[in-house]
């Protein structure tokens, strides 16, 4: 399975790197356009002082973490990107995957690996690194061990959203913008301290689509801040569990989608 993936994906990567300069320009453009939102926020922030009690450094911390995780996910899960996957269903090229003697999920993962999204990862990491200059996080071994778990959990969680979006394509290829709300919208949401949102919204994104559990609550743990939303402390440690749990759910729903496709055709 892994060897098939590696072989298939190497082809995809090679064709992307074939146009070297265009690729580098793309990476830089992607990186810069994603950083813009933060730059605009940072520049405007000077006029205010704090947001929900958080300093600019603290916002940068969660922002950078969310962006780096999302960018990584965007690269790995590009095959499941609903915008792309919808094309396969619309044009009927999904059938080609059914005709190859390789597992479907492996094939979809290997069908694209958008290296240019590295730009987003890079700017996320840059912002995160900068944040640590002033966020004042007191790093303990526990926190250091937890950080990569939060990162990986976020990648899995965002990936699950892509997979859900791709699964929806089996039923309809229109109106997929809704999915963008949870993916792109979700990561933007998670970048800010989530106690600034109204209760209803925050609870929706904590218990239904648990975006808050992936970045915000762990951030409270890293900053040693009290929880203004009143959840039990355990909420801050659930990130990797929730991330992979949701991903598993997503892959199960994907299977259901494939059965549906084989039952009703395109």
């Amino acid at each position: 399975m892994i060897s098939h993936y590696l072989k298939l994906v190497s082809g995809v990567l090679r064709s992307q790197l074939a146009y070297r300069t265009a690729f580098i320009v793309d990476v830089i453009t992607v990186g810069m356009s994603n950083a813009l939102e933060f730059v605009a926020f940072a520049l405007a922030f000077a006029g205010f002082g704090h947001i929900g009690g958080w300093s600019l450094w603290q916002v940068a911390f969660s922002w950078g973490l969310s962006e780096a995780a999302f960018g990584t996910m965007d690269m790995i899960f590009s095959g499941f990107d609903p915008a792309r996957f919808a094309q396969h269903i619309k044009r009927g090229t999904f059938d080609q995957f059914l005709l190859r003697p390789v597992g479907l999920v492996t094939q979809i993962f290997a069908s694209d690996f958008a290296l240019r999204r590295l730009g987003r990862v890079a700017q996320g990491l840059a912002i995160f690194a900068l944040a640590n200059a002033g966020a004042g996080v007191i790093w303990t071994p526990a926190k250091l061990a937890y950080l990569p778990l939060v990162f990986v959990g976020a990648v899995a969680f965002y990936g699950a959203l892509f997979v859900f979006g791709a699964t929806l394509c089996f039923w309809s290829t229109e109106g997929l913008e809704i999915v963008n709300l949870f993916t792109y919208g979700g990561t933007t949401m998670a970048s800010y301290p989530m106690h600034i949102y109204t209760d209803v919204v925050r609870r929706l994104f904590t218990f239904v689509v648990p975006t808050a559990l992936m970045i915000y609550y762990p951030a409270l743990f890293f900053f040693d801040l009290p929880d203004p939303t009143g959840l039990p402390k355990i909420a801050q440690y659930l990130a990797p569990l929730v991330g992979f749990g949701v991903l598993t759910l997503a892959l199960v729903s994907w299977r259901v989608g494939v059965y549906k496709y084989q039952g009703t055709g395109s």
């Binding site: 947001i51 929900g52 229109e174 800010y192």
Partner: protein, 266 residues
């Protein structure tokens, strides 16, 4: 020719009206991001002792996020690939067969699209905002007229700009990177992410050297009564200036591009 252009606009309007599902999804996206930015601003203003930043108080700032969402659809700030595609596929050649100015033909089409989306998205999003938030509305008829003029000019301006950068397709095989770079510029410099007035003075000066604030920031400043009287007239004059510049540039570059097309083939 005017009647022909009106007919063209009408056709484009009808075409856009068909995309009900997509526009509904887009409306939900507008609402989501509008509320997200409003939440951020509300939290920022809570930190402030003085009620105004960049001329905007909280009510005006919240209104800003709503009108911005309405405007980006009306002027089509992003995601307009029609001309780039037409050049890539060579369909642009059929435009040369028509006894119509290429620029004004495309402009008429975009006018139809804009009106359709005004009705399907811009007005509804404002209605939703009006229900949920206290809005800062234009204070008198003069202000309303100013706003009306400003948004028409903003649309024309944005169209000329989109037209202009799409012409890169005559010289580059893959003009999508140009499209993305252009989006990157417009998002930041138009005042969409944050009102221009929120930025430090040096940043504001730089932004105001470009045409982009006239796309978004100018009409909204008029709407929320930040720009009144002579200030408003000055902004409208700046819009008019940039319209002349961009339309002239567009015609020049278009002529060069068409010459290249007819001399070197598709």
């Amino acid at each position: 020719m005017l009647t022909t252009l009106l007919a063209v606009a009408r056709q484009a309007l009808n075409r856009q009206l068909v995309y009900r599902a997509a526009n509904l999804a887009g409306l939900v996206t507008n609402a989501f991001f509008g509320f997200l930015r409003a939440s951020v601003l509300i939290a920022l203003f809570a930190a402030k002792t003085a009620p105004r930043v960049g001329g905007l108080d909280l009510r005006a700032a919240v209104t800003y996020t709503g009108v911005a969402q309405a405007l980006i659809v009306w002027v089509a700030l992003w995601g307009w690939w029609d001309l780039i595609d037409a050049i890539k596929t060579g369909d642009i050649a059929s435009d040369l067969q028509r006894p119509l100015s290429v620029f004004w033909y495309w402009c008429a089409q975009d006018a139809g699209r804009a009106v359709a989306q005004l009705v399907m998205r811009s007005l509804p999003i404002m209605a939703v905002y009006a229900v949920l938030f206290p809005l800062a509305l234009p204070r008198d008829v003069v202000q309303w007229i100013g706003f009306g003029t400003a948004i028409v000019m903003a649309w024309l301006l944005c169209f000329a700009w989109r037209f202009l950068y799409s012409l890169a397709g005559f010289w580059l095989t893959d003009a999508t990177s140009i499209g993305r770079a252009a989006a990157f510029l417009m998002t930041f410099l138009s005042g969409f992410l944050m009102p221009v007035g929120f930025f430090p003075p040096w940043a504001q000066t730089l932004m105001l050297l470009t045409p982009f604030p006239s796309f978004i920031n100018t009409p909204i400043e008029i709407f929320v009564n930040v720009a009144t009287g002579p200030h408003m007239l000055a902004l409208l004059a700046i819009q008019a200036f940039w319209i002349v510049v961009l339309i002239t540039l567009a015609h020049v570059v278009l002529y060069a591009g068409l010459r290249r097309l007819t001399m070197e083939g598709g």
